[in-house]
């Protein structure tokens, strides 16, 4: 499945923000074998002014391990030349980045599909939890997992069986 050659990989679970262009450059800079780069950036939105921040809790150690396992699986399924995942934790304000997925391949289909797969799997398997801090200062609640996210992840296991 995997083409010959190296897969450049960058995985980070961090509190600090990141720069999209710099991260893509880190993964693909100086290479001439990559034909397609897909990036997904997840941002904190303000829910029409109702939200002042999200607080992301994570399971240190397992978060990195689980992201790595999901990346391993993506590399087995698609011929990727570079893959990067950054997931932040801590307090994140509206407009700030939360998560980044970068996939690079010779052709676009692998890059698109792998990026979509990575996000679907990260959402349901990586141990992160979002708590909302409302703009009115009231005590917020934990964001509930969406059944749609589970369905999105499940479609990849169905695809694997075919």
């Amino acid at each position: 499945m995997r083409e010959a050659g190296r897969t450049t990989r960058h995985i980070s679970v961090q509190a600090a923000p990141f720069d999209l262009a710099a991260e893509v450059e880190k993964l693909t800079g100086g290479r001439t074998d990559i034909g397609a780069v897909v990036t997904f950036t997840g941002l904190c939105r303000d829910e029409a002014g109702l939200l002042s921040a999200l607080e992301l809790e994570h399971y240190p150690g397992m978060a990195e391990d689980e992201v790595t396992r999901v990346v391993d699986e993506a590399e087995q399924r698609w011929p990727l030349q570079a893959v990067g995942v950054i997931h932040r934790f801590g307090v994140i304000r509206p407009g700030e980045v939360i998560v980044l997925v970068v996939t690079a391949s010779a052709h676009r289909v692998a890059a698109f599909e792998a990026a979509s797969f990575l996000m679907d799997y990260l959402k349901t398997r990586a141990p992160f939890w979002k708590k909302e801090h409302p703009a009115d200062g009231s005590s917020g609640g934990w964001v509930e997992a969406k059944a749609l996210d589970d369905l999105a992840a499940e479609r990849w296991s169905a695809a694997k069986r075919d």
Partner: protein, 84 residues
């Protein structure tokens, strides 16, 4: 002794982030452990009120409720994940 760690609203309801416990012989699986913890106090009962919702990991790997806790060093309980 095994280390138990809790996250998000499981942590809040348990009233602690982690603890060391000696598991009784009756606790063989994750499901047994959840049931045993739920019987400890009100907060724990609330944390495990709907045991199907609470997820678990052993030594930082996702596991099902039927998984044996034999040999586990660290067992985590947490709600369904909401990252990304």
């Amino acid at each position: 002794m095994v280390k138990l760690v809790y996250f998000a609203w499981v942590r809040e309801r348990m009233g602690m982030a982690e603890e060391m416990v000696e598991l009784p012989a009756s606790v063989q699986t994750i499901a047994d452990l959840a049931l045993w913890l739920a019987g400890r106090d009100e907060g724990a009962a609330l944390a495990f009120a709907n045991p199907d919702v609470v997820r678990a990991a052993i030594d930082k790997h996702h596991v099902s409720p039927q998984t044996s806790v034999q040999g586990a060093r660290e067992i985590a309980f947490f709600p369904p994940m909401t990252g990304g």
